[in-house]
Point group: C2
């Protein structure tokens, strides 16, 4: 039987996939898992089962693909990603075929199935990528406008360069952590009283930032640029990103060189990297860009993605309250434009770089992607289901972000990125 | 014969060291070299000879030290550095003993000497470290004041936070290159006419920044801080850093999140890492800090270093002109304060992180560490020895920075960091 395209809604797997699962056969994301008996290795996922790629390779199911066992028997996706876009696409297509209900090869070999599929509850997710450089953009017009209104001139909220280029800055790689790892409330210099000198104290205005991020393949050599037309060939996949922010530290430190300690204490990512290939069906038009962008930022076709996003706060011993519903499609600058801009000066990207979208705020107050905006700088506290209120994030709060795309009955999800706040250290 | 301390001025080597060499036996820096016959491996240097540490290990001269052959038979210093401060200090002390003129072991074994010592002209220097995160500070009061006077309010040149904390920001690791590699003039958005929209063009105001940088050992886990008293235990050594800057791109892009494409097209470092141990004799008092700093930034003893710095421009087919003489001791914030500040929020550092000082400008106009300041924004062109003038760096110019410390007849130098500017690509 010939192969059905990997994104085809008609494709069904012989592995049971619960309705509403983020991981149907059309997804097949990549990650790194470990278990009691096994050191970290590369995996994919279908329904509630982890697909052990190392074992698949050992059993010969990945024949005629340009991968070696060592590409999967390792603690990061980088060796696999080093093989490039076509190789990884072929690998996903192979997985799609192996798990297609019309394909008997693996399906009928019960002994192999038991070895290859691991219940998700039996593994622990690991940091999937050894991240080289981390860049964060600022590409939501609504977010930039909200911040500008609160901290600068409400009449000129958007700074002069904002509509001309995707503003971005470099972040910290060392403190990127995986979903589920707790975050210690940072300490630092804050200036609660404008008339008084700064003090050293625990952050009082701790915030999340709802973002997505994309992860790159190896790019071009230093000195060369990637065009908007080429950009998606260099993008491996996407994750959810919570770019934790200490607003009071940020306010005092950020002029003139940008945020530093306000951000670099932690950034959390979701563990499964959803390939850009799996997201192709969810492409949509981006917002109209006015003024017309400079030629290196022009693009053809649809390069925005319809990805629904939600943020929840789960207080200690409490239940989740949904506090935000946004969508990645609201972004003014798309990923191809971000990558073209990032490399237009010759800056090189490497396999495993992480590029964050910036906070994804939508047009309505319930779609803002940070507490700063949702509570409007603390002036409009949010009501939790347990009756408490939040201006910013409290100790013990678990912040959970979820994201998924939905079309023609197919749901491609990211799972979640969560992180619980621990009290500041003495 | 018992061992003379590695920094003792009386120490002499049996290897000939030219007078005025940057690399007497008191230096013994670390780097990575390769040659026609040999893949990259770890080395030290004395006079005009490279010390092949891989061969020293094979021949048994590094016995009873916690290193394996693979720590030296590799293309970066990271495995060696992973062994920590004490191990690297013991290694330098061992080298000091082996090359001491009073120690016969290696000296008297001509066959071994020929294998271990390679003329510098026979090797090519490689990037010494696999850099994790790159942070750049902004710690020269004179530089920050000059920039503030030119671009902001001359009456309030120093921003309110500057005297309270060592302002810093994250830079780009992927585009850090080694001395001698050329730099392509970047293109980007600039706004030559304030009344007109931005244009896309080659940078017109290309600049260097005279900096030093330090490289770290593994730090503490995420969430913990390093105190000023502990900081130097986490510092491996120092290099010269030219943090190339596109001033016109910077002016347009940097608000509100800091410099991005104006910096990340290239940063050049010198190839030999001079250990902090070798620099101990050159410690001096730092500038008085007023207002008194917050407690986590207080320190005891001398934590500034007297390192003389020079910048030269060598036009295409022309001779060098010295354009700047500065000193690392002018920095307002020392490295221990920078590291304490960087980690006070729990941010973790890793083996191989690079932390730049920021432009090192001194108090006099000939000690300013950038063309921006030396030519005062282009209003005071510099005269070259060949009769031409410079407001900023021209295509074909080779920018060379040199640095050394001098005391009691001992000169501990860094060699140089150089980079020639190639024309922008079409």
């Amino acid at each position: 039987m010939s192969q059905i395209p990997a994104n085809n809604p008609a494709l069904k797997s012989w592995v049971e996939v619960p309705s509403n699962s983020d991981f149907p056969i059309q997804n097949l994301p990549f990650g790194v898992v470990k278990s009691e008996n096994l050191p970290p290795h590369v995996a994919s996922r279908i329904g509630n089962k982890v697909i052990d790629l190392k074992t698949l390779h050992v059993l010969g199911y990945l024949e005629n693909l340009p991968f070696e066992l060592s590409d999967f028997d390792t603690d990061s996706l980088n060796p696999m990603m080093k093989k490039g876009k076509k190789a990884v696409r072929d690998l996903r297509n192979r997985l799609s075929k192996l798990f297609d209900s019309n394909q008997p090869d693996l399906q009928k070999n019960e002994q192999h199935v038991v070895q290859v599929l691991i219940p998700v509850e039996n593994v622990k997710m690991c940091m999937p990528v050894q991240i080289g450089d981390y860049t964060d953009f600022y590409s939501s017009r609504e977010h930039a406008t909200n911040v500008g209104m609160m901290f600068r001139d409400p009449a000129n909220a958007l700074l002069p360069n904002w509509l001309w280029l995707p503003v971005g800055y470099h972040g910290r790689s060392s403190s990127i952590i995986i979903s589920g790892e707790p975050v210690t409330r940072p300490k630092g210099q804050i200036k609660p009283n404008p008339e008084e000198p700064p003090i050293f104290a625990a952050c009082r205005n701790l915030d999340f930032e709802l973002e997505t991020a994309f992860i790159t393949f190896d790019g071009k050599p230093l000195g060369e640029s990637i065009s908007t037309a080429e950009a998606e060939d260099f993008i491996f996949g996407m994750v959810l990103l919570n770019d934790w922010s200490a607003r009071d530290i940020q306010t005092w430190e950020y002029v003139p060189l940008g945020p530093f300690l306000a951000k670099n204490f932690a950034s959390s990512i979701s563990p499964w990297i959803v390939t850009l290939d799996a997201l192709q069906p969810f492409k949509v038009d981006g917002p109209k860009q006015e003024p017309e962008v400079l030629s290196y930022l022009k693009y053809e076709g649809q390069l925005s993605y319809d990805i629904q996003l939600e943020v929840f706060i789960e207080p200690e011993n409490g239940e989740e309250t949904k506090i935000c519903t946004s969508n990645f499609k609201y972004m003014y600058w798309n990923m191809a434009q971000q990558l073209a801009h990032h490399t237009v000066n010759g800056c090189n990207i490497r396999c495993g770089d992480l590029l964050g979208s910036g906070t994804i705020s939508g047009p309505t107050p319930d779609s803002y992607g940070s507490m700063l905006e949702l509570s409007w700088k603390g002036t409009k506290p949010l009501k939790m289901n347990d009756g408490t209120e939040r201006k910013f994030i409290q100790d013990g709060d678990n912040v959970i972000m979820r994201g998924f795309s939905l079309k023609d009955g197919v749901r491609i999800g990211f799972g979640e990125v969560s992180g619980k706040i621990l009290p500041a250290k003495n």
